[in-house]
């Protein structure tokens, strides 16, 4: 099983990745900052304000806060299924042997390279299928204060959708949700990531 991913920044070479059955020996703590260095950067305030305008517009379109939360998750999902290719291309990851490695890659490499976030993985359950990713800083929500009428709004829900979509493309079906939010008064954000299913690789559809 091979999958082709990404173009190098010279734009000419396609990188081929081969499935490896060996245990990964990559260190997410160094891979994160290394991948971050290679990414194009944009103005963080522009990013924050654009996301804010997006959420505000969604609130105007859908009257209901739960509908907006669901919509943010769906948009994130659509982003995630595409973002996984860029992640795999730019971060030089090998195949993960277990979910613990996967979660560490999401938190230390994924969040770092795309958002510059320094996250930690903790609170594992006993069979290592669920953990919490804690973030102390989050570029989506700078300057934001939720008015009391929107106290159920999960402002950064887009992130959960992205993680869910990206992992689904590598055959890990997960549940991803915010259990603590700074905008709701907590002192940090916490995303609970739960592995629900590992799908089998599907053969490509027959061309008949």
């Amino acid at each position: 099983f091979r999958f082709v991913c990404g173009l190098s920044f010279e734009g000419q070479v396609l990188a081929l990745r081969v499935r490896s059955a060996t245990m990964s020996h990559q260190n997410p703590n160094t891979m994160g900052p290394a991948a971050w260095k290679g990414m194009d950067k944009m103005n963080s305030e522009l990013f924050t304000l654009t996301y804010g305008a997006l959420v505000a517009q969604l609130l105007r379109d859908h009257e209901d806060v739960d509908a907006v939360n669901a919509q943010l998750d769906k948009m994130g999902y659509n982003i995630g299924v595409r973002l996984i290719d860029e992640f795999l291309a730019k971060s030089n990851t090998e195949r993960c042997a277990n979910f613990e490695t996967t979660a560490n890659l999401v938190a230390k490499v994924g969040l770092k390279m795309f958002l510059g976030i320094n996250a930690n993985v903790e609170k594992w359950n006993s069979d290592k299928t669920a953990c919490s990713i804690t973030l102390s800083d989050n570029p989506f929500q700078a300057f934001v204060e939720l008015p009391p009428s929107l106290s159920n709004l999960c402002y950064c829900n887009l992130m959960c959708g992205v993680i869910r979509g990206a992992l689904e493309m590598v055959n890990r079906v997960v549940k991803c949700e915010f259990v603590k939010q700074k905008l709701h008064g907590a002192d940090h954000d916490e995303i609970r990531l739960t592995l629900e299913e590992v799908k089998e690789d599907q053969p490509p559809p027959d061309d008949e």
Binding site: E45, L49, G52, V55, A56, F143, V144, E145
Partner: protein, 144 residues
């Protein structure tokens, strides 16, 4: 021979007014007489145009004396006006005052970056209030 007051001036009220002249924020540092400050600051708005013609920069300096209070003005490029009202103690240095206005302007910018804030509505925000109080403490000492 007049006696110069030794006590340093303290801030009495701070107001932010939109380009159209609508007050969106008024903080008084003296709990009594809030209505009085509304009137005083409203009166000060008249002096803005005159001073703006003289001063090219955002900081307009001392714009008026009304009823034993000194009023200082600042107009941002976006058109919002910040008015500070102090009592008649010894004035602090104008450099410090300029820095104070810059601080208020910065607090306003951070407040306005909140996507849930609608333009030209009253400013209701605990973080904004806290920042203004801290800034006033730093620059004008005591009261809040």
């Amino acid at each position: 021979m007049s006696r110069v007051p030794e006590r340093s001036a303290s801030a009495v009220a701070l107001s932010i007014v939109t380009r159209e002249g609508k007050p969106v924020y008024l903080k008084s540092f003296e709990p009594k007489d809030e209505i009085k400050y509304h009137f005083i600051i409203h009166a000060a708005l008249d002096y803005f145009d005159e001073k703006q013609a003289q001063e090219k920069s955002s900081y307009l300096g001392n714009i008026a004396y009304i009823e034993d209070y000194r009023l200082y003005g600042y107009i941002a490029n976006s058109g919002i006006k910040i008015i500070l009202c102090t009592d008649d103690g010894k004035p602090i240095g104008s450099g410090d005052r300029k820095a104070f206005f810059d601080g208020v302007q910065q607090a306003y910018i951070d407040y306005a970056a909140n996507p849930f804030v609608r333009e030209n509505t009253a400013i209701v925000s605990k973080t904004f209030d806290a920042r203004i109080e801290r800034l006033t403490q730093q620059v004008y000492g005591a009261k809040s």
